[in-house]
């Protein structure tokens, strides 16, 4: 599975980071950085939660 970020929607709030810190990080400029594009099985649940928690619906998973 691969994470796709809609950069036009993402506001860098970082709810995703709090749910899956191994995958998402908001840098000091307030921009989202993807630490890895492909999702390991360990991270999958957190990433799913991040997709649901993202207030701008900026995240999705692709096979």
């Amino acid at each position: 599975m691969k994470i796709v970020v809609d950069w036009n929607r993402c506001t860098g709030l970082g709810i995703c980071e709090s749910l899956a810190p191994g995958v998402f990080e908001v840098d000091d400029a307030g921009d989202l950085v993807l630490l890895s594009e492909t999702v390991s099985d360990d991270d999958l649940e957190g990433v799913r939660q991040a997709i649901e928690g993202c207030p701008t619906e900026a995240l999705r998973l692709e096979p």
């Binding site: 860098g12 970082g14 709810i15 709090s18 908001v26 000091d28 400029a29």
Partner: protein
């Protein structure tokens, strides 16, 4: 999956997310979405922010998406009036809806000022219609009195000041936001009002709202008269459980649920502002009025209702934000009172970070304009960080920031 008919009552954030999660999880039976408002589901946080500044608010999803893509029957403009958990039916308007799985997502309604019914110019702010009425009054240059210095009231004051209008906030308690962020930090947030030219009066109540047909003034308990063309009551919200009286569901400031959002009645789950559920993260019951948890609970409640055998708990570190005078306030966790320590910036300034301790645990964090930091604390709290770990994290961040400054040529 055993459930055949899925009914969702309340067509807002939690209700919509419930419908979407049901389909995402592969449920292909009939879905009915019942909502009291005539509108398609829309987002509420902008109502006291961008909408007051003049932005129009689109619905979350178009009608075609809800009907055709999600295959939901929409029953809008119709309030549910009764639930029969034995017969498994919901009554709404003249119809009875049978369900195998039900999600209650009726949210909360704004508390109104007693004695102001029928007086023009007095509003609460909960719905799209409310927001439009308040916006029209602001457009007309209303002298504004906000009752209650909570988040929504403060955002209304902020919108009024942005237009250069005179605004007074009347707050009955000596310090605003004590329940939300604690004593010291409530005062720190309140300081933003004075800086923006809003007249905040604490520790004084409203004796009467007066006028002939239309509001003309607000009389305070200390005798002060405030001239007003617009009065907005921001005095809290009450969970919308009136229609559940007689249903036998456990009601106590919301629908009481276990950690899986289960109400105890077969097939019935609750989500969003209406739900008081057991949050395993803090080992206590909570009812939140926050966007993030309403969205997440909608999805969890739907999946659990449709497959109760595999029901999963909903565990979260509460999170909300509020925008005042161009500054963003964010809070994660619970406003514990054992200790509150400002670890970055200072109250009264443009930026600060405060941490909340409960026993030896990091329990909460509040930031003003700390967008790049707040979620890092949420992550720490989620992973059960101790107070010391929270402080160490702050120390490391500060050291790294100093390092960067020093490294600059």
């Amino acid at each position: 999956m055993s459930a055949r008919r899925f009914v969702v009552v309340g067509a807002s954030l939690a209700g919509l997310r419930a419908v979407e999660a049901a389909r995402k999880s592969g449920f292909d039976g009939p879905i009915t979405l019942i909502g009291a408002e005539p509108h398609l589901p829309y987002d509420r946080p902008p109502l006291s922010k961008a909408v007051l500044d003049g932005t129009d608010l689109p619905a979350f999803r178009g009608e075609e998406v809800l009907r055709d893509e999600l295959g939901a029957e929409l029953v809008l403009g119709t309030a549910a009036t009764a639930l029969d958990t034995a017969a498994r039916t919901v009554r709404a308007g003249k119809r009875e809806f049978g369900y195998d799985a039900l999600v209650i997502a009726t949210g909360a309604g704004a508390r109104t000022l007693p004695g102001t019914e029928g007086l023009r110019g007095v509003h609460t702010l909960r719905t799209r219609d409310d927001a439009q009425a308040v916006r029209r009054a602001l457009d007309a240059g209303a002298r504004t009195v906000v009752v209650g210095a909570g988040f929504i009231g403060s955002e209304v004051a902020s919108a009024a000041r942005k237009r250069g209008l005179d605004v007074t906030i009347v707050e009955a308690l000596p310090t605003p936001l004590v329940r939300a962020v604690g004593q010291t930090m409530g005062a720190a947030c309140a300081a933003l009002h004075a800086r923006a030219g809003t007249d905040l009066r604490c520790g004084v109540g409203v004796a009467a709202v007066e006028g002939e047909g239309t509001v003309e003034r607000v009389r305070l308990t200390d005798g002060t008269m405030l001239a007003a063309d617009l009065v907005v009551a921001g005095i809290g919200a009450v969970p919308a459980t009136g229609w559940l009286a007689g249903s036998g569901l456990p009601l106590d400031d919301g629908v009481v649920c276990d950690e899986t959002l289960f109400t105890g009645a077969p097939g019935v789950y609750a989500a969003g502002d209406v739900a008081r559920w057991h949050n395993p993260m803090f080992g206590r019951h909570m009812r939140l009025e926050h966007w993030t948890s309403a969205a997440e609970q909608g999805a969890v409640a739907a999946r659990n209702a449709l497959d109760p055998e595999a029901a999963k708990p909903y565990s979260t570190v509460p999170y909300f934000w509020s925008d005042w005078y161009g500054s963003r306030i964010q809070f994660v966790g619970v406003p514990a009172t054992d200790e509150v320590r400002v670890v970055d910036g200072q109250p009264g300034g443009d930026h600060f970070v405060a941490l909340y301790r409960e026993g030896d645990r990091l329990a909460g964090a509040l930031t003003l304009n700390g967008q790049t930091q707040i979620m890092k604390y949420r992550g720490l709290i989620m992973r059960g960080a101790t107070w010391t770990e929270g402080l160490e994290f702050t120390g490391r961040r500060r050291a790294a920031a100093m390092e960067r400054v020093r490294a600059r040529p």
